[in-house]
Amino acid sequence: MVKKAELEILEEIAPNTFMIRYDDKKFLATKSRSKPHYGEKKYAEFREWIPYRSKLAAMILNGYRIKLKPDMKMLYLGAASGTTVSHLSDILEEGVIYAVEYSARPFKKFLELSMERRNIIPLLKDASKPEEYAGIVEKVDFIYQDIAQKNQREIFVKNAEFFLKENGEGLIMVKARSIDSVAEPSEVFSRFLSEMEENFTILKHGKLDPFHKDHIFVHVRL
């Protein structure tokens, strides 16, 4: 006889976000009413959240937590095809995610996700030009940025000026190679951090290894 697989919640990490054990497998997941989006598995109502595909999952699995509330308003820069946004959409169940992506092909797949979810506003826009969506996006509690661009700090600062509420928070994923393709990553990161400190309070930063090499997350408050 085959033993029935058991699903156990090990820890609640954020709204609708859990560490799950299923048989011998331990993993991060979000509780979701929707179907899988990027090839991740769904066990009962839990969608596996794959750290190799999502830097936010990598950050969580590396032990760092940010406070997310179900009714948050968020601006997400660099949505790509919506891997991470799909999980944030599970988490911010009563919130709104304004998601910006400028590349049409991944955006097309992201658009499908937006149609299935009630809390996503898809925007095919360039994040370096907030003027083009200032008449669309309201003031938000949180800005998430994952755009792997040389000038990503300037882009983040500009968007924060336009849209971030006072005391609002931000999370930035930084890839050393896209800022400087030759310098030592540690040097690139410390330069980035000290420049960010001119505009924000840095709450925490840390590595995304082993899931994403030469990347860090930077959590800030305005």
Partner: protein, 263 residues
């Protein structure tokens, strides 16, 4: 009076008074909306014309999706051609710069006067324009083909695209074809010499030969590097065409290969 174009219409600010004019076509006003940082809360103002928050969000979401559908198709249809025509403009400007520079030299050998100064000014402006177009090409190329662009940069990526005709065609090519893309002329020459029983060297590199990773290697290693780069470009073009997401390990592999060959 200041006018703000927001997605649901226009807002006029007179002193501290705000007046809202609702658009009768949200799709149109959404597309046209553009403004500096708003000195008021968009959400609060919206409640002057939307009966509730829920209705505001559901109308916003519906409109955003409708606009996105229109724009994504438009973008997918035109971005190949846009990049190719930018590239042609770049090459024509280069021709212009060369032509004028030559003229300046010719004239200066005889005498320097107002006319040569005028030519110099034009060359200066053309160089500025060239920089602009190059930046445009890079940013458009990294949207349309992030992997190919990450591997060889915007301009070479655009040249590959031009030779192939479209991203779809580039994505269907084998690495060996991409490797000699742009060297077709010399390939045909070599082939016809060979057919006639004459000796000829077949070309090893096409457009990608311009890449520093190949140019800076000793001659005997260039073929190897070109083959490797071309094989990754073939994968990259496919990923670009089918998903458009950046695969981090492609550029990493090419860099490693280069470092290994350079020793």
């Amino acid at each position: 009076m200041i006018e703000y174009k927001v997605w649901f219409g226009k807002i006029y600010k007179r002193n501290s008074e705000l007046e809202v004019i609702k658009s009768d076509d949200f799709v149109e006003s959404f597309i046209e909306s553009r403004c500096e940082k708003l000195p008021f809360s968009l959400k609060e103002i919206s409640l002057k014309i939307f009966p509730s928050e829920e209705e505001y969000y559901s109308e916003l979401r519906r409109t955003a999706i409708r606009v996105a559908e229109i724009e994504v198709e438009k973008e997918l249809k035109s971005s190949d051609r846009y990049i190719i025509s930018l590239l042609k403009a770049l090459d024509e400007i280069d021709l212009g710069i060369n032509l004028f520079s030559e003229k300046i030299r010719d004239l200066e050998e005889i005498r320097t006067d107002k006319t040569t100064e005028e030519f110099r000014r034009i060359v200066g402006e053309l160089k500025e324009l060239r920089k602009d177009i190059e930046r445009r090409i890079s940013s458009e190329a990294s949207k349309l083909m992030p992997n190919v662009t990450e591997l060889v940069g915007g301009v070479i990526a655009a040249r590959l695209l031009e030779r192939a005709g479209s991203l779809k065609r580039l994505a269907s090519m084998a690495g060996s074809t991409i490797q000699i893309l742009g060297a077709e002329k010399s390939l045909f020459k070599a082939m016809s010499r060979i057919k006639k029983g004459k000796k000829a060297k077949t070309p090893k590199h096409g457009i990608i030969f311009q890449h520093p990773y190949i140019r800076t290697l000793p001659k005997k290693l260039r073929g190897k590097m070109a083959r490797f780069l071309a094989s990754k470009l073939a994968i990259g073009a496919r990923v670009d065409y089918y998903s458009g997401e950046l695969k981090e390990d492609l550029a990493e592999a090419v860099r490693k290969k280069y470092e290994e060959l350079r020793g």
